[in-house]
Symmetry: C2
Subunit: 388 residues, 2 copies
């Protein structure tokens, strides 16, 4: 297996952001767009290093065929954007939302380009913004497309983010005992990860930083997206399932483990082993050239043959990058090839009412000849059975 890449903790350089923009412009050129407009804060962050939350005052990034980026920003936020943006940006500020006639965000926006042009837009652009966009608008998620293959810099940042969640997982497994409350786990795990983030990156952008650590005790682990109550308690045996996620100064990753406190119930052994084998099967297919839907189909088929098909409620994996959930998808509906420098989760799951949930998830880098796991933790049934 390939060696783990080196961690990177520094902000992106101008060159890094220029390379991302060049990739976007290459696709703009192929699709003959005169402009491309981003509304999605994730795409704007990717291209500018400026992170924000969407409120009623829109931010719009307008990319021409060449020259600096143009950004429509509320006056109130201009200093914030200038402080954080690394790219070469020309600002078009507007006073307020809503503003008197002639001074609204769309007046400024519409002054940038005219009606005779071909303008690419995101499928996530709100219809209210699409309707104010001049030119012929064409939906094409080209920034999302370029984000699928990570640069060396991004891989370094993701590798660092994985160290943070690894530490979170270690903490949770260490403190998790029957009767311990969810709240204590959440607090300790978040504080462990946040402290490490601050030590490593003292000027981390907290608009692009978030941590989450929680455990689903066996009575609810068969419902992976039910939210545990903060006063819920850990139980005897298992399966407990922990989710540890972080967005670390802009890069999102996760590590998840099924584990047992003391005993492994008889009924949990087989589903654990089936999950474990399904996971091995997915890893064995993990190399450039494999069609992603084939992985998910094979995993589903295998779990089905073992008699657990009805307990599958999600795909085998998803991508990571500046978010913890994005393309590519290791899903039956996603017929594309794995390529080097994609980063994905591998997390086939089995969820059985009355017994519980079974899922390990790791953040995994696709390399030239296979893959390398960037997260780590106990894996085998023996390793995940914690002695009390």
């Amino acid at each position: 297996m390939t060696k783990k890449p080196k961690s990177i903790k520094t902000p992106p350089t101008n060159n890094e952001l220029q390379q991302r923009l060049d990739n976007v412009r290459e696709l703009m050129n192929e699709q003959k767009f005169d402009f491309y407009v981003c509304f999605d804060p994730v795409n704007i962050y990717y291209l500018t290093n400026f992170a924000f939350y969407v409120h009623e005052r829109p931010f719009l990034l307008v990319i021409g065929k060449n020259g600096p980026l143009k950004m429509v920003v509320p006056l109130l936020e201009k200093a914030h954007v200038i402080d954080k943006a690394i790219a070469d940006v020309e600002y078009y500020d507007y006073y307020e939302f809503p503003a008197p006639k002639g001074e609204n965000w769309f007046d400024v926006y519409q002054s940038i380009f005219d009606e005779n042009l071909k303008v690419g837009i995101e499928s996530s652009m709100p219809i209210g913004i699409v309707n104010k966009t001049p030119g012929e608008t064409i939906i094409s998620d080209i920034v999302e497309e370029t984000r699928i293959i990570k640069t060396d810099y991004e891989i370094g940042r993701i590798t660092h983010a994985c160290k943070i969640v690894n530490k979170g997982l270690k903490k949770v497994l260490k403190m998790c005992r029957p009767e311990v409350a969810e709240f204590a786990i959440f607090q300790e795990c978040s504080s462990t990860m946040t402290s490490k983030i601050i030590q490593d990156i003292p000027d981390a952008n907290f608009k692009a930083t978030e941590t989450m650590g929680a455990v689903w005790p066996p009575s609810i682990s068969h419902e992976p997206h039910l939210v545990p109550g903060i006063f819920d308690k850990m139980e005897e045996a298992g399966p407990h399932v922990t989710i540890i996620q972080a967005q670390v100064d802009g890069y999102g990753v996760e590590v998840e483990r099924t584990f047992f406190l003391g005993d492994v119930p008889e009924k949990a052994v087989e589903p654990f082993n089936v999950m474990f084998e399904a996971r091995e099967m997915a890893y064995n297919m993990l190399k450039p050239g494999t069609i992603m839907s084939d992985i998910d189909s094979k995993v589903r088929q295998f779990i089905g043959e073992k008699g657990y098909g009805e307990y599958i409620i999600h795909r085998t994996g998803h991508g990571f990058g500046i978010t913890g959930h994005e393309a590519p998808y290791i899903a039956e509906g996603y017929h594309r090839e794995l390529k080097p420098n994609m980063v994905v989760s591998i997390e086939p799951g089995i969820y059985i009412p009355e017994i519980g949930g079974f899922r390990h998830s790791d953040t995994v880098l696709i390399t030239n000849d296979g893959y390398v796991k960037l997260t780590k933790g106990p894996e085998t049934l023996d390793e995940v059975t914690i002695e009390l």
Copy 2:
């Protein structure tokens, strides 16, 4: 002045949610919609009590002229929605994103209604979802419209949320001294507010709960949306400006204060007094019937006459409800009347480079004959000058 309403800390009843839905259906009827579709998680929360984050797997709430709500949900999330939703909901689940042909979210969505109908949609609906919506789609933000006037229940929840931020403000003013780091303030203030939330509402939904407390020291307080660094330190004198915000189990409010540590610099006295008078002027107009743009215009005119016009960078106020930033807006571009049971901020601000920022903000309820402030804190220059 009217008495403060009583705090409410309990979840909404079925009747409360039914009343909200009835209000939406009244507007649907007026606009002759056969269906209305919500994508915005805020609107879905308002009508169902189910809170979530938007990922690639869409949730869609389809409202017909009568009968139960219909909700398109990812299979993985169904148990979570059922656990939290209070309204009468019929579920349309889909397996995954992306899914094999015929099993995608839009296949399920399109099975709900047909091409011959008039369908109202939000202006924030992503174009990719609009394009998969059957029928004649018409943009009309009717749920946002109904949210502008608060029910008695909502006012009770907002009153409670204000108690949380009041406590946060008290804590910040108590601990804020020169050399104290931003990080300490943020941590202490968040933990004070979070502890109180958990004491008051042990089963608070943490997907609809958030707290924020930070102080802009005088060297950056003239840029209210610049984000202070976590190792930034409080300074001598001022103006320091603190923002305390919380979304408390679904209800968002804020309280903000300009304050001084020890001395008030000579140059800060006049702008503070102008801000203070502008604020009084806004309060004096705060009653049903006043046109909101008139308040903002008068405030701007007054500040301009005093010679500080160029230092205004935002409107006088905005609404609160299930978010901390929403309609109505006390802004020059918003020509609507104040009505009883609206909740707004009053926060005219002056921001002078080299001197600092001047802004108090409160969460204020409009009553039948005036208003009542739901947040509290020191106000006059004397009161906000903290002895060292």
